[in-house]
């Protein structure tokens, strides 16, 4: 049985209204400044570090994003930590606030489908985050140009752009999660608390917990390099439950052409290096090869966004309009 009309009717109106709410709201203002200030501090730290380094590096400009200087983490790991917070901050009350303001039934009695409300809200949230991330990205590039006095190569720009796009997908996952929670829980406070709990669990606790869990499942004596690699890949599989782990893997590969395997950073942490047969150690990987290496992870982020959005969509469609 087909229903009449298109679910897209009204998406534009909802999108514009929500976008203007986000951009003029105090909440976004605070979140944006939090991210901008910490990010600038991180980038400034990395610039100092880069200036001190004397080693030749053809991809020096990308170090802007990955170089950390104590006590601050690198720009990339900062994003992996703070972007979820911004997305949760924008998303935790998208649906339940319509209930508590008692505007939902009035809006839904207009000639639009429920789909339009949800699509419009999600797209507006994502657009808001995109606008701030693009601004931040330009700011960092500009800062790098000014303070390093060094123009990035085309490939460096391509890699940095790729990171920007991946960060937007990463934000999409958390926005979809926050929106799902805002649909499930009628109280914005509960939704926010659950979302923040999941955020802390997935970004801080899970990286500590997952290796132990992985070893409980795939434990074996390590007698050869193959054993080590298989243990590592089990650990990696567990870690990938967290979107932050996926994001971290993508960023480490995309921003560092010398990384030829997603396991390389883990090995490096153990003081080991991965040497492929026939490959020159440390030789840079072409851009597209790097992207190909983490294509699965990128698709994973997009798939997670879609799954979470669909879950929220189903819950919302089945929900009673009455408070």
């Amino acid at each position: 049985m087909r229903r009449e009309g298109t679910p897209w009717r009204g998406v534009g109106a909802v999108f514009l209204k929500e976008l203007s709410d986000h951009l003029t709201g105090a909440r976004m203002f605070v979140l944006e400044w939090l991210v901008v200030l910490t990010a600038i501090a991180a980038v400034y730290g990395s610039i100092q570090q880069i200036k001190d380094a004397t080693a030749e590096d053809p991809f020096l400009f990308l170090r802007l994003f990955t170089q950390a200087r104590e006590p601050l983490p690198s720009f990339a790991s900062l994003l992996s930590f703070l972007v979820p917070l911004v997305a949760i901050g924008l998303g935790f009350d998208l649906v339940n606030s319509e209930h508590s303001r008692r505007t939902l039934s009035r809006i839904l009695s207009q000639p639009i489908y429920r789909d339009a409300l949800l699509f419009g809200k999600f797209l507006a949230g994502l657009a808001t985050i995109t606008i701030s991330l693009v601004a931040l990205w330009l700011l960092v590039i500009g800062l790098g140009l000014l303070m390093l006095g060094l123009a990035p190569s085309g490939e460096e720009i391509a890699r940095a752009l790729m990171m920007l796009i991946v960060t937007i997908f990463y934000a999409g996952v958390w926005l979809a999660l926050a929106m799902l929670l805002s649909t499930v829980f009628r109280s914005p406070a509960t939704a926010a608390l659950v979302a923040l709990g999941l955020w802390l669990f997935l970004t801080i606790l899970w990286p500590l917990l997952s290796p132990a869990l992985a070893d409980a499942v795939g434990a074996r004596d390590i007698t050869s390099a193959e054993d080590l690699l298989s243990v590592l890949s089990v650990r990696q599989g567990f870690a990938r439950v967290s979107p932050s782990a996926l994001f971290g893997e993508i960023v480490s590969v995309v921003l560092d052409p010398s990384v030829r395997s997603t396991q390389q950073p883990m090995l490096a942490a153990l003081g080991l290096a991965l040497i492929e047969r026939g490959a020159i150690p440390g030789a840079p990987l072409p851009f597209l090869q790097s992207v190909l290496l983490v294509w699965g992870q990128i698709v994973g982020l997009i798939a997670a966004t879609i799954l979470l959005f669909v879950a929220g969509y189903v819950v919302f469609q089945r929900q009673e309009v009455r408070a």
Binding site: R3, R101, R106, L108, Q110, P111
Partner: protein
Amino acid sequence: MNDVVIDAQGLTKRYDGAVAVDDVSFTVARGEIFGLLGPNGAGKTTTILMLLGLTEISAGAARVLGHDPVREPLAVKRRVGYLPDSVGFYDYMSARDNLRYTARLIGFSEQEREARIADALKRVDLAEVAGKSVGTFSRGMRQRLGLAEILMKNVAIAILDEPTSGLDPQATLELLDMIRGLKRDGVSVLLSSHLLDRVQSVCDRVALFQDGRIALIGTVGELGRQVLGGGYAVEVEAQGEGLADKLAQVPGVRTVEATGPDRFRLLADRDVRPDAAAAVVAAGGRLRRLSVEEPSLEAIYTRYFQEHGARHAA
């Protein structure tokens, strides 16, 4: 198209096991004000939501302006305005901006939008505060803004859920007046309420809800005869000798009761005022007052629920 704008046949709504609305049937004619009355939780709002396609219909069928609200919700919602129970607006936005948002959702063009909004706000006396944020509005002003939204939409049917609840007497009267204004524009109005005396004055027909069913349906007069059992009550105030006997002889009068000095209350099968007046004059009495008592919805309601032993939640 015929003159029935809302046709509900056997509407039923079940929420996991519990029945909220049970086999409700009624029709609303073009230009009519139809009242859904009953205690809170009797199924009035659920019935309204089913008519709007905002909640699924478990059994039965509804036609609103000839459309099925389940299959063609957009066609229904384009021509139906809905004012929910204690309507909410975006408090940080101005009254005008709130209406602009709705107008965009409806899909009005830019010029049409501004003209309609200005006109609607003027009709509900909110033109002067149009630029103020809704957060500063009183409850009565919010209800009026909700009504402005319906006026702006240019609807054929207005569905108002508890439009007068929580309003002070003055605001209630103003709102009822605006509802009559809708009728004058040819808009059919379906309104729900548990406040009976106010609603009685505007409704052409009413349906009395009880535990998810329609207990009674008809004009207030019809319900009065049905429930209070007694045709017409005529009050006579007249001076004269032996008037009680003379009045009792008027054809159609069943009982005569003296309610005070020179005051009588007649219970009759029909409107006996002309005959009663003639009887008084013929007996040489001086007629001061003659009135027929409209049955009050309150009395009907109370009597009905007393007789049927309902849970009285209102």
